[in-house]
């Protein structure tokens, strides 16, 4: 899980394309969308694509999306649960 969180932090920084944000700046338990980093609905859609592409997990429902993207930890937990490659 922690490894996946670190991996996601790096990918999110790449998606955000912010010169002043490092992977460590992406909060693990804090608010992910609409928080200090300015992550908005378009970034969420880019993350949805990345998660489907890299982990084979589809997120295509608005309510589900809001729950999954509550924090980085909830996102990682959802991927762990659904990803064919990461399943225990």
């Amino acid at each position: 899980m922690e490894k996946l969180i670190e991996e996601l932090q790096a990918k999110i920084v790449e998606i955000l394309n912010m010169p002043d944000v490092t992977a460590a700046d992406v909060p693990v338990d804090g608010q992910l969308v609409g928080g200090e980093l300015g992550i908005d609905s378009i970034d969420v859609l880019e993350m949805v694509i990345m998660i489907e592409k890299d982990y084979g997990v589809v997120i295509n429902n608005k309510e589900l999306g809001a729950k999954v993207f509550a924090s980085l930890r909830t996102l990682a937990a959802y991927i762990m649960e659904k990803s064919p490659g990461l399943a225990n």
Binding site: N17, G38, N60
Partner: protein, 721 residues
């Protein structure tokens, strides 16, 4: 203040519901829905419902689908007219992209195959076919395009600049919009259900519609275009302002333009796409303006799908049909209305006499347009010829391979070329990193220009409206979206690239940065895109309007620019940049005047004399103008040079003539750079020696003419004041 009504002298419509007014009306009366599963080109499963037009491809006709849809609707609107229209104003977002996508997927590298790509080629094609020799404007303000085109046509007629204008919109289905909206999760897999509590998005569609608008009544009982209102949310690239403030502003302004109050409206044709955010914001705007008991209302997009740039024109025709036939269409696709909206849309067609219909069209970038169509209850006002003072330039900026404004001016004035592409780092200097993090080349260029043109302005001097011309739009985003779409077998195109790929994305970024909430127009007419933006700005700016920012900007994209732009291909070198002018109405003494004197089909050699007379040029051109800056695109050099020779001979102009593309470089918006440099030359007071290979030539208070030559021609005067 309201303006005079304009008459609808002809209508044409083609949509998923059928072809022509009679078929469309029949479908609306039967509440038929025209959506079908996507089968126009191969797409991955699950295939989404779309609003496709039943029209077979003709292998003998190379014209792309958008062009053919536009022709079909234009032919209907012009049927029965013996004369060509004086002007054509068309909204489109797709142009020839459907054909381009196929070519790119097959790695076709012959530029000739891409000659139908440009948005402006749709209107140019119509102008050629119906022999319209007057002004052509191609508008691309996303899903508001068709309605914005009609609003501009209305302004042109009210000003007395034309007597008959063909105005409307056209868009075909294509991979860019189908997969783009899919990547944004804005497509309802069950088909659009506008205002329904279970709604999940829109159905992408195609179609075209035109109104032939006239300043004189074609028949005693003709339906009229009574008013139009434009606004910009200046809020977000895709999401509407949640309270519908921009939608409210557009509707209110359309009503005021028509001289009506909310209580006068008999039916509202909603934008009603079926997306969660649009329908909610629009409902809030309707309730704010009309109160809790608004007039009967419905969206037809559950029946037609959302035909993007065509939608505003299609729904203007539907509004006219509603008035003519006394019937308001049902909100097809709706099972149970979303209680949160607090609206009661029509579940079945409503038969009752109708005098006034309000039709809404909103688009990406927060571009909003509302039209009022009906029969005037008041005696018709008479049109008065324009007595507005010209627009004047209060600030200018440009950007080229040589640098930003000052660096470009220094290079230009010392006779150096400005070719090349300025480093991204310099373009972004002074722009907040968070505002540009998702942007590629074109919006960054636009923001850099807007920032420089609006530097040190007080809040009341800031522009409220934006008019931006671009020949090719955001090529980087378009290229990257399609590349990822093809590489990932249609699975993972980038939503960010799709949002950025729309032609009006740069203008909406500028509006957000400046907080400009009035009209926001993007024009795309090849090498004369900036000139079209100037013309649109003139039409949008009445005596009471605030400052307007007019820009021309184009980017160089290594793959697409040489394929699409024949002049870039010929030059063999990539150059980009643009120019921005801050304009205001009147304000004598504050800066040089700027005026589009001509914009139309190029005159034949033997017509040059009469062309010059129409421009109201003084007999001795030299007395008014001390310099001609002439735009000779490399693609049309031979034609343009012969036009220039004829013009110079006929006008006996003896002053200096500068072929500015040789110095600035080959790209669509080079004329916007030339306009900004003309302002610099006027400030300088004389034409620098290095530009003309002789001593400095004093202007002595004379102005500068900006000529755009080629298959279409434009003449813009800058100064004298």
């Amino acid at each position: 203040m309201s303006g005079a009504p304009i008459y609808i002298a002809g209508m044409g419509i083609v949509s998923a519901l059928g072809r022509g007014a009679a078929e469309t009306l029949q479908a609306l009366l039967q509440s038929r829905h025209g959506l079908s599963v996507m089968d126009l080109f191969p797409v991955i499963e699950p295939r989404m419902p779309v609003g496709a037009v039943d029209t077979p491809d003709d292998p003998r006709d190379a014209a792309p689908r958008t062009h053919r849809l536009a022709r079909s609707a234009a032919n209907q609107a012009l049927a029965g007219s013996s004369q060509p229209p004086d002007a054509i104003i068309l909204g489109t977002t797709t142009g020839g992209i459907l054909t381009t996508e196929t070519l790119l997927e097959r790695n076709i590298t012959d530029p000739d195959a891409y000659r139908w790509h440009a948005l402006g080629s749709v209107s140019d094609d119509l102008a050629r076919r119906c022999e319209c020799r007057g002004p052509v404007i191609t508008v691309s303000t996303a899903c508001a395009s068709g309605a914005v085109a009609i609003a501009l046509a209305m302004a042109m007629l009210r000003r007395g600049l034309a007597k008959r204008v063909l105005a409307g919109g056209a868009d075909s289905l294509c991979r860019l919009t189908y997969f783009g909206f899919k990547s944004l999760q804005l497509i309802d897999p069950l088909g659009a259900r506008p205002l329904d509590r279970e709604r999940r998005g829109m159905s992408v569609a195609e179609g075209a519609a035109f109104l032939l608008l006239a300043s004189e009544p074609p028949s005693p009982n003709a339906v009229q275009l009574l008013g139009a209102g434009l606004s910009c949310d200046a809020f977000h690239a895709t999401t509407p302002q949640p309270e519908g403030q921009g939608a409210y502003a557009a509707m209110r302004s359309a009503l005021s333009d028509a001289g009506l109050t909310p209580g006068d409206i008999d039916y509202i044709n909603l934008h009603g796409t079926g997306t969660l955010d649009n329908d909610l914001a629009e409902a809030r705007a309707v309730i704010t303006l009309f109160g809790s008991q608004p007039p009967p209302l419905s969206s037809i997009k559950g029946a037609t799908g959302h035909s993007l740039a065509a939608a505003g024109a299609i729904e203007a025709v539907v509004a006219a049909l509603a008035v003519q036939n006394g019937v308001a269409p049902a909100n097809v696709g709706l099972a149970q209305v979303d209680g949160q909206l607090q609206l009661a849309p029509l579940m079945a067609p409503l038969h009752k006499p109708m005098n006034t219909v309000l039709s809404n069209s909103f688009g990406f970038g927060g571009n909003n347009a509302a039209l009022v169509i009906g029969r005037s209850r008041k005696p018709a006002q008479t049109l008065s010829a324009s007595s507005l003072p010209p627009l004047t330039i209060t600030a200018a900026a440009c950007l080229t391979g040589a640098g930003r404004t000052q660096a470009t001016w220094q290079a230009f004035a010392s006779g150096q070329t400005c070719h090349g592409c300025l480093a991204d780092q310099i373009v972004c200097e002074g722009l907040p990193p968070r505002a540009t993090r998702r942007l590629k080349r074109l919006p960054k260029l636009a923001l850099a220009l807007a920032t420089e043109a609006c530097r040190q302005l007080s809040p009341e001097q800031m522009p409220k409206a934006i008019s931006l011309g671009t020949a090719w739009g955001a090529l980087s985003e378009t290229h990257d979206f399609l590349q990822r779409l093809f590489e990932s077998s249609q699975q993972f195109p980038s939503p960010t690239d799709f949002i950025g790929s729309v032609h009006n994305a740069p203008a909406s970024q500028v509006a957000m940065m400046l907080g400009a909430k009035r009209a926001n127009v993007t024009t795309s007419g090849g090498d004369l895109s900036f000139e079209q933006a100037l013309l649109a700005a003139d039409l949008l700016t009445d005596a009471a309007a605030g400052p307007i920012l007019v820009m021309g900007v184009d980017e160089a994209q290594p793959v697409l620019s040489p394929l699409l732009d024949g002049s870039v291909h010929k030059a063999g070198c990539l150059t980009d940049g643009g120019g921005a002018l801050l304009l205001q109405r009147g304000g004598a003494g504050s800066g040089p005047a700027i005026e589009v004197l001509a914009n139309g089909a190029a005159p034949q050699a033997e017509e040059i004399a009469s062309f010059l007379r129409q421009l109201d040029f003084p007999a001795a051109l030299d007395k008014c103008y001390g310099l001609i800056l002439t735009g000779i695109p490399a693609e049309h050099r031979e034609l343009a040079e012969s036009q220039l020779r004829a013009l110079l001979m006929e006008s006996r102009f003896q002053g200096p003539v500068i072929d500015y593309r040789r110095r600035i470089g080959e790209f669509g918006a080079a004329s916007a750079v030339a306009a900004a440099l003309a302002v610099k030359i006027l400030e300088h007071g004389s034409v620098p020696a290095a530009l003309i290979g002789g001593p400095e030539q004093p202007l002595n208070g004379r102005g500068i003419l900006l000529l755009g030559l080629g298959p279409r021609i434009s003449v813009v005067r800058i100064g004298p004041p």
